[in-house]
Symmetry: C2
Subunit: 426 residues, 2 copies
């Protein structure tokens, strides 16, 4: 992990670069699978599942009986933990619902907007050794709070054709309406076009590897909305002398274990804190089961020392981290200075793991600098806001002449005429 | 304009199709221009401006002096009309700002979110014969309300190198920070990468022809956010016997004059209303200056008669119109039934022109069925919402054990360790 003391501001933009990922070469594969699923529906999905997941499925839908059987195998203490997380996530996301505010902009001209759930949404949950049931909470809870009518979940089957029981438990807990054992590009294609058994959805959510990412890009170009562009996960920590090096090191490691392409950035206002944290990191990482992954992701990572916390915040805003830990004195006061970040953790006890699982905030966040223009997932991600206006005859008298002048100046006579005709009526 | 009586529900999906537009063949042109602008900056932008706009420019930035000179030429009554529209648009959009709501999800665990303006945004305003200054209002006003630091506007120059004075007047009125006389693909490329004179922006907004649309797609794939996917403008009107055929016809025509690819759909609960509106439309369109355009766009358009207004609303929700006029009795009561639409106009005096210019709502809306998953432009489009969490030592005691269990079940030991280490501290 590179240590840089007081980098020249001219180099900041370079230091804020992410490891580059090129998804362009996957385009042809993605296009071919989408085309096959569009044409052959379930048959194509099953063929790709045999090819990629090495399992021959009769049905794609997970039956209620299988779900109930799986639920019985989940330990009670884990169920209780998931319920606690659900309760916190619900409490926070419930505050995101908007009450319509009606405004009379001119006498007789009333405007407001109302939220409507996106009717059908799809959630992708990756497979692999670890069952990412926490993401089922993070996407399923705002979807049900928003009131989405169909909430479809796709996740790849294991060699026996099963989805992990904890994923199934969490899915039924949050109100997923249908679960399909389908993964990869074919899952995204099935939700984009619909098949005999899988519903076409209006928006696709969820993390995934480079294939899933490329498939979501393709889905977006085909007219299906997606949650946000994807990129490797990342954490930036600002630590002053009030920070505890062992805590900071543990947070950096929790980010680094995600994948070989993860990235962490540590910013300190003293070389001592930087060096002590690096020493702690060395001591902690060797005992972790994912130390091989961490060995790789450490190479993408940096420690920088700046003159003061203010300058650290300036760099952080340029970098626009997915996760930002403010392990500094008066952290709450510093919040106003944070301009670009996905989710922010204040003080020594707000570890990233808290937000990943159970504080209540969402863990689906903008990576790769997208925090400059995108928000993380929230109830907003599952709704549209429709504007309404009600203009009375008197209201149109008040604004009509202005509309006539403006429409004429834009050479849109029919726009003008729609007003003129009404003003002249009777 | 095709008249269909009581279409079979099995045909509804086909009837809700839009005219197809294929932007794929423009990809190579777009990629070449983006590459040139990325490499050669202003020189490339100027070369493309000479090639496409037939004007050789010294500078791209419009000077303050040119702006002031242009403003002096705008008639006072038009200025007053634009100011009235601005006042209404501001009043409505000001209601969209969110106040942070702080929630303690568990004792010692506090979560909230705060809005931050996207720091730098770009607004594209097309050129051509009609100066679309109303779009400057619709994009510039929410940008300034959000607090965006840089609000760049690009619009193509005419043969003399000028931008229309009304666009310049409106731009300075709403607080645009820099105006560039650059259009087409090269304008979007310049805002995506930045050049010597044009700032790189975080998000690009605005309408445009197929070239601009393809360029915005390319920008999005290159990491710059865009307002929404584009498509031809469209209007759906539901009219019962309380509607006035002449008014309805004038609204359909105001939509049809936008372009040859515009589309209107009229839904009635009686054949009488359908036929009377068609007769009014015939009478009105022949006298309009854009009748040639309307002759084309009428071919994309349909009139359908259903049994009742409820069924009309069902079809409308399937179609998901950009603009929806409810020229029906008890229109306000029907609003709850509207699920998919961009902006809704209630009653006989809420013509689409009102929302296009001056009621207060935004006219940048989702087309092509995107209203199923996207909202129109609002202050939300110019901000990100950052989540914050503050967890005390006691708070972590309360949620820590749940996090440890969940992290272990996801095989993320470093995530677990970040909590364990803190719980064991001292």
């Amino acid at each position: 992990m590179e240590l840089i003391i007081n980098p020249n501001p001219a180099n900041w933009v370079n230091l804020a670069q992410r490891p580059t990922v090129d998804a362009a070469q996957l385009q042809e594969t993605v296009a071919a699978i989408f085309e096959a699923v569009k044409t052959d529906g379930d048959a194509a999905v099953k063929a790709f599942t045999l090819q990629f997941d090495k399992v021959d499925l009769d049905t794609l839908l997970v039956s209620d009986q299988s779900i109930q059987e799986a639920i019985a195998t989940v330990p009670d203490d884990l169920k209780a933990a998931i319920q606690l997380a659900k309760s916190n996530i619900e409490a926070f996301h419930a505050t995101q619902k908007e009450v319509p505010r009606i405004v009379e902009t001119t006498p007789g001209v009333t405007c407001w907007r109302e939220s409507r759930a996106i009717e059908s949404v799809g959630i992708y949950i990756p497979g692999g050794t670890a069952p990412l049931f926490s993401t089922v909470l993070m996407l399923g809870i705002p979807a049900t709070l928003a009131g989405c009518r169909e909430i479809v979940l796709c996740s790849p089957p294991d060699a026996q054709g099963h989805i992990n029981p904890v994923i199934l438990y969490t899915a039924q807990l949050v109100g997923i309406t249908a679960i399909y054992r389908v993964g990869g590009i074919q899952a995204i294609a099935a939700m984009t076009y619909g098949t005999e058994s899988i519903a076409k959805v209006n928006k696709v959510f969820g993390p995934g590897n480079q294939y899933v990412t490329a498939a979501k890009q393709y889905a977006q170009q085909s007219g299906t909305a997606i949650d946000m562009p994807a990129g490797p996960s990342e954490l930036l920590v600002i630590a002053d002398d009030s920070a505890i090096p062992a805590f900071v090191a543990s947070d950096l490691l929790s980010q680094l274990e995600h994948g070989t392409d993860s990235q962490v950035v540590l910013l300190c206002d003293s070389e001592r804190m930087a060096r002590e944290t690096l020493a702690e990191l060395e001591a902690q990482w060797v005992v972790l089961p994912r130390k091989k992954i961490i060995e790789h992701s450490l190479k993408n990572s940096k420690v920088m020392v700046f003159d003061d916390v203010e300058t650290c915040l300036d760099f952080s805003n340029l970098y626009a981290p997915e996760h930002l830990i403010l392990a500094v004195e008066r952290a709450a006061e510093r919040c106003a200075k944070v301009v670009n970040a996905g989710s922010v953790f204040l003080g020594n006890y707000s570890c990233e793991s808290a937000g990943d699982y159970a504080s209540g905030t969402n863990h689906t966040l903008p990576t790769n600098g997208y925090a400059r223009s995108y928000s993380g997932v929230s109830v907003d991600s599952f709704i549209k806001k429709i504007t309404f206006q009600s203009v009375t005859a008197q209201g149109l008298k008040n604004i009509g002449p202005a509309i006539e002048l403006m429409a004429a100046a834009e050479q849109l006579e029919a726009h003008k005429n729609a007003v003129t005709l009404r003003l002249n009526h009777r």
